[in-house]
Amino acid sequence: MNKPYNHTKATMALAKASFRSIMRSPSAVVFTLAFPLVFILVFGFLGKGGLKVDLAIAPGSDLHNPIIMALEENPVVHLVRDKDAAEIKTGLEKGNIDGLINVQKNTTEKPAYKANVAYTSASMDKGNVLKSVIHNLMYSLNSKDVMPTVAELNESTVQGRIYRTIDFILPGQLGFSLLSTGVFGTAFVFFNLRQTLVIKRFFATPVRKSSIVFGEGIARIGFALLGAVFIILIGHFFFHFTLVHGAVTVINMLLLAIIGLIVFMGFGFVVSGIAKSESTIPPISNIITLPQFLLSGTFFSIDAFPSWLQPISRALPLTYLNDAMRKVAFEGAGLWDVKHQILIMVIWGICIYAVAVKVFKWE
């Protein structure tokens, strides 16, 4: 009895209990793991395709000639055969087909073939790609046996890191997973513990309030980090997610994840304090998470947003977490290189915890 009370032991007992509870809670597992994984799988497979241009061959076109053969071997061009003129016309109008080619043998002496190509205004971007593909192809076909008179072109590509869709999508999903587990998880747990008098029972023991908050925080961070490692490893081994410095990069990402999660948990504390009933938690949490989900560059780069929207995007904490994660993972930046992003997250953290201290309720 005279042995001094051990606050660390109490905190760890709470962390252990909370961790067990989270692991058995279906919603936590779904939000932290399943949800981001589904998006990663979808975009992972989408990203493998790359750019494809659909080029229809006109009915009646000559098929056995060097032009068609060269197009067949081109990785960008997908040749569409066996369509009649009417189908091709609607295809071109809708932009499902990006161009039409008609090759005819030349009856007069030279050149041997004539190729008529039609583009469509319904698909200008791909039309331009097609245009340069065909120009290149014609140039190499025509100059095959000719010595250049002015200069010979020698082309080569520097072998760089390939920026895949996964390199963009995975950090965004990771950030969103941290946001939802931080906000929803924390809000529900503290609201329920308060509502079911679990916290009141805790107060009848010598435990400190800070131990309850820290214990809960440790468990949530532990769980979120497990989720993050899982997502990163799946992304790396199945979809070639780029980790420039391997394990060091993963550790940097996890440190960023901790900072982000602590900020997001602050939102959770605020929500648990202002929610009047359990059913008001999801709408309030969604007000916090949805705009960040859409505007923080989870799916698209915020550079693609209209300029009036960009300042809003640049005010949200998830934007900076996503940004920092991408820099660390793909560019191999260290934490010091993303100090600007970290600083903004810390400022958000200070503000949100100042609010949380005011609105959080224990009873």
């Binding site: 007992a13 709470l14 209990a17 067990r20 809670s25 329920n192 008098l197 679990v198 029972r201 009848a204």
Partner: protein
């Protein structure tokens, strides 16, 4: 055993809420190793009084000593020597009884064997069950087990038998008597007078935030009889509850 050694002493306790006085200057002592009952209608101030002694609620004025510790100065020392069972308290979700016991042993900072604690309240068969899946009687027994973790000097039980069937109620009485036998002081609130008469060494009647009577159940009954009170109906040697117990058995049941 020295029966007049006060382990809890409450002097002029007042608790005011904004527009309403829940407790208006009550004083009483609880003696070491007795079972002390707080009786009275709902809203009389029993739970408020208990929660102030348990250091869960601030008082407006008055003086309370628990085993020599002042509730104002030594709340944490008091928490270490008392066990508290709250009315309708919940437990951490998704955990089984053993895990909840481990959690509480961490919260109290003591090392216990969870199974031994569960055996004390005859819940060893439910070790892997969730709190939610327990019956009313099992829930109350589990609640009491969590109050015993820190080997407290005093335990507080707030309406532990409300909503239980007669067998479960009697099982709980046996458990409470057992706990007292091990040297623990018990403070209990209840709405059942037969329970108070069976269990309590002394009872206090609380009404509108004041104590209107405090004595042993025997003396209180004698006092009433001495005023010429008589029951309208001649009391038989058994009552309907005795019939219930005789018909359905007194043994511990799987579900209570």
């Amino acid at each position: 055993m020295d029966n007049t050694n006060a382990i809890i002493s409450v002097k002029n306790l007042v608790k005011k809420y904004d527009d309403f006085t829940a407790v208006q200057g009550i004083s009483f002592d609880v003696y070491e190793n007795e079972i002390f009952g707080l009786l009275g209608p709902n809203g009389a101030g029993k739970t408020t009084t208990l929660e102030i002694i348990e250091t869960l609620r601030e008082k407006t004025s008055g003086e309370i000593l628990v085993d020599g510790y002042d509730v104002d100065k030594d709340a944490n020392k008091i928490k270490r020597i008392i066990g508290v069972q709250l009315q309708a308290a919940g437990y951490y979700p998704n955990l089984n009884l053993v895990e909840l016991m481990e959690l509480f042993s961490g919260l109290y900072g003591v090392d216990i064997n969870p199974m031994e604690m569960l055996e004390k309240v005859n819940l060893q068969d439910k070790a892997k069950a969730k709190y939610k899946a327990l019956s009313g009687g099992q829930k109350q027994r589990f609640s009491i087990a969590t109050t015993l973790i820190n080997a407290p000097k005093i335990i507080f039980l707030d309406e532990p038998t409300t909503g239980l069937d007669p067998q479960a109620r009697r099982n709980l009485w046996d458990l409470i008597i057992e706990i007292r036998k091990n040297g623990t002081t018990v403070v209990i609130t209840t709405h059942y007078m037969d329970e108070a008469e069976q269990l309590c060494d002394r009872v206090a009647f609380v009404e509108r935030g004041e104590i209107i009577a405090l004595d042993t159940p025997d003396n209180l009954i004698d006092q009433l009889i001495s005023t010429g009170f008589e029951r309208k109906k001649e009391v038989k040697k058994a009552n309907l509850e005795d019939v219930f117990i005789q018909l359905t058995g007194k043994e511990w049941r799987e579900d209570n």
